[in-house]
Symmetry: C2
Subunit: 152 residues, 2 copies
DNA sequence: GGTCGACCTTACTACCGTGGGAAGGTCAAG
DNA sequence: CTTGACCTTCCCACGGTAGTAAGGTCGACC
């Protein structure tokens, strides 16, 4: 097992890319690429003799996978699982679907929460004159709101 | 200007409360009450001779204000501004309304973003068999998605 | 008095994902 | 040889909350 250390120019000619190109190709910042490596999402990343990171096409593919998953709001932990399933040929689509539906539930809960806030605020803003006078139902709500005491 | 240091029992008799009671009365954890003091939202907080924090009814009122504002999703910076306006008798309701409408815009943007994620995910989940087989449109999307190249 | 449990204090750590910046090494082109 | 773009590592920040550790203090009870 010889460890072959490529020079920078050499590496780029063999279809490998440096972090700048990986960044362009994936849309993930260099900062985050290093971070994803550090938390173990990229596996082994080669280095040139000068210690520069060198990425294979597969690495870039993983980065684009992560980027897309982040865009869909998956957490890093979920992404870790999804990557594992992606690379496992014996996975079941059910296991992927389970993660996705769980994430859908979270999204729906979050949306409901935000819509609750939004509704209340819209009501308050609607009632607020919004002029030079100090009287303000918004502040009144914040100052005087009493939580419903459902609990004993 | 004598600095009168009250004893614990003495203080509680004068309508002042310790952090535990402030926590119960406001719904804000002791941890966060100290934090809010540290970042300057509570002003001067008195201490007993034994260095325990002692809160006035006004302090508790501020804490409930903060609690309610957090429930509506305002950021700490926005809450700082709202508190300032609340305590300013010459405020205009327009200035409060402005903060609130800005927050409404943020909420709407966030909701739209989450709904975008949700829609895409629901579509993908809908297309996924979710059985023992490995074929999975969800993973396919994550792995092969190409961002639209609107930019040059 | 002594002791117990509940409460308080400060100070540090972590979470999540991202960005900023310092201080230094390396590349390729002029 | 210099320049400027790029790379390296390392540390810090955000926002808001929670956890933990090590210690001081309260009231109540024996």
């Amino acid at each position: 097992m010889k460890k072959v250390q490529l020079e920078h120019a050499e590496a780029l000619e063999s279809g490998l890319v440096d972090i700048g190109r990986a960044m362009q190709a994936s849309g993930v910042s260099a900062k985050m690429i290093r971070h994803y490596e550090e938390i173990g999402l990229l596996g082994n990343v080669a280095r040139t003799a000068a210690n520069y990171r060198i990425y294979s096409a597969q690495h870039v593919h993983v980065l684009r996978f992560i980027k897309r998953a982040r865009t869909l709001g998956f957490s890093m932990e979920e992404i870790r699982e999804l990557l594992g399933l992606w690379q496992d040929r014996r996975r079941s689509s059910a296991s992927v679907r389970k993660i996705a539906t769980h994430h859908i539930d979270e999204l729906q809960a979050k949306i409901a929460e935000l819509q609750g806030m939004l509704g209340t605020l819209q009501q308050l803003v609607h009632c607020c004159a919004g002029d030079h006078r100090p009287d303000c139902p918004i502040l009144d709500d914040l100052a005087e709101y009493e939580p419903a005491h459902d609990a004993i």
